[in-house]
Symmetry: C2
Subunit: 306 residues, 2 copies
């Protein structure tokens, strides 16, 4: 079997990303051909700081830029380089030099200092491709796609609209295997027949309409949110739709904190990411956890197969 090529964007070099990449290289190389989007000079700085030897088969696709790496520093130059590395990795996919992108964490404030007004990778991809990227998080056991993301809780209910839900369901269906998807209600007890809120009526209508378009009962719900992630329900589903950020991510992180990855769906390219931040407090100390990164690589490969 020919190994897939994965472009690795190195994230904020003042954080844990490059350490995780170097530490995991041997294991990752068994699964795919990683192509690291960083230049020789910056990589040399990183290996010096980490006091590790550069693996001989560490393939680069070099990205211009030079600055002094300073562990844990929120810095415009390091922020800008994280951006350049990511855009470079995306372009490698567009030109078919890579099959997917796996991203190391960026630092939002460093991006802001560099004049980059994106909320994160997913937001940047939305602008770059002018497409409604879907944010999904999870691991092999369970994935949660978010209908709304980074908005105040008080704004969530008004976003539960039939047309937008239906479009979201159809986009999600096109991005996932033909499997049942557990779809949560919005309110306690899924509204308890309207006594505790009526947004479930719109969710139900969108589910029915989407299932008709898809051709089978793919979206199941609206499920009562507080039991949707109980063991009895989880054994029947791998994919979930949450109506808002914390509805999906709180149980996911309660169950699978270290294992989870972040996946961007409904885009021309496949992109997965670690589900943690730059961890500036432990950068270049040799203690960063590699599990989420390895899972991000595996997830990208499994979505390439779909």
């Amino acid at each position: 079997m020919i190994k897939k090529k994965i472009a690795i964007s190195v994230g904020d070099l003042n954080g844990v990303g490059i350490e995780i990449a170097l530490k995991s290289h041997k294991e990752v190389s068994k699964l795919c051909h990683p192509i690291y989007c960083i230049n020789k000079e910056l990589l040399h700085q990183a290996t010096q700081l980490l006091e590790v030897k550069l693996p001989t088969d560490f393939a680069l696709s070099e990205v211009d830029g030079n600055f002094e790496i300073q562990a844990g520093l929120v810095d415009a130059q390091s922020g800008r380089y994280a951006y350049e590395s990511f855009i470079h990795a995306v372009k490698l996919c567009e030109t078919n030099e890579a099959d997917a992108v796996v991203t190391m964490p960026i630092h939002k404030e460093a991006w802001m200092r560099a004049g980059l007004e994106f909320k994160g990778h997913t937001d940047l991809l939305r602008h770059y491709f002018n497409k409604d990227a879907i944010m999904m998080l999870g691991c092999q056991e369970m994935y949660v796609a978010l209908f709304t993301e980074h908005i105040p809780l008080k704004e969530v209910a008004s976003k539960i609209q039939y047309k937008k839900l239906k479009t979201f369901f159809l986009d999600l269906s096109a991005s996932l295997p033909q499997e049942k998807i557990a779809t949560l209600g919005l309110n306690p007890h899924a509204g308890d027949n309207g006594v505790l809120g009526d947004e479930e009526l719109r969710i139900t209508k969108a589910i029915k309409s989407a299932n008709k378009a898809v051709g089978f009962e793919q979206f199941i719900g609206p499920l009562v949110p507080d039991v949707a992630f109980s063991p009895q329900v989880r054994k029947n589903y791998k994919y979930f739709v949450a109506m808002y950020h914390d509805q999906g991510l709180t149980p996911l992180k309660a169950l699978y904190f270290d294992e989870s990855v972040n996946i961007s769906l409904n885009l021309p390219i496949i992109r997965t990411s670690v589900d943690h931040g730059t961890a500036f407090d432990i950068a270049y100390k040799g203690v960063a956890n590699t599990l989420s990164y390895l899972n991000a690589i595996k997830s990208a490969l499994s979505f390439l197969k779909n």
Copy 2:
């Protein structure tokens, strides 16, 4: 050590409550003196239906009423009897004939058919004692107290008010051991410094004010909701405050579905309950799970010790 007396309200007799009580009697009797709030005739019907022998030491405090038990039927008479059994159990505590109440599940629609317009036990207790009962759910590993309960999600944000929060914190503090309590924010990333909502400002103010009144840093937060129940945070806390129903109960049921119990705090009596419903579909089939009931007994005893 003298065993405590626990009044057991039998719940809806068309459901699983009495089966669980009979099945668990031997084990429960090792922990406390259970006093079952049911009359001989109805109990006889139940043992006949279950084809079990009545334990010789099954102590009753009889509650008037007679009707035919019909497994799984939503019925006004059965609903009314569940209410009478519960009020009887509460009165046993008020007269010091019992030390605490443990409740089997009632059926809300059966209560409605009987003309009883309460949302459940906790709501009834609020009216009965004219006090702001606090609803807390959980098990030995983790308890979650709910600041808001059965309201539509869109109404939650407007309930996050300084004075009400402070009163809630102080009431909760008086009901729990002098331990740290993890207190969640409302919005994704706990508002991300106001970018994703500003209710955290009021939560912060109420936490500070409550901690000052309590005399130590008891309430910790507002924590980022989606990581509040991750293993790293859970190892530091046993008690949590959630701002709304699903914020607390979704992760709780993801982690401890079968083990959880429901506890009413801030009342003149101690009352715990199983955290499941009447399970009409499996009533009188001999398959009901007793774990939540046993934990409800143990919880009542541990709160009696506090």
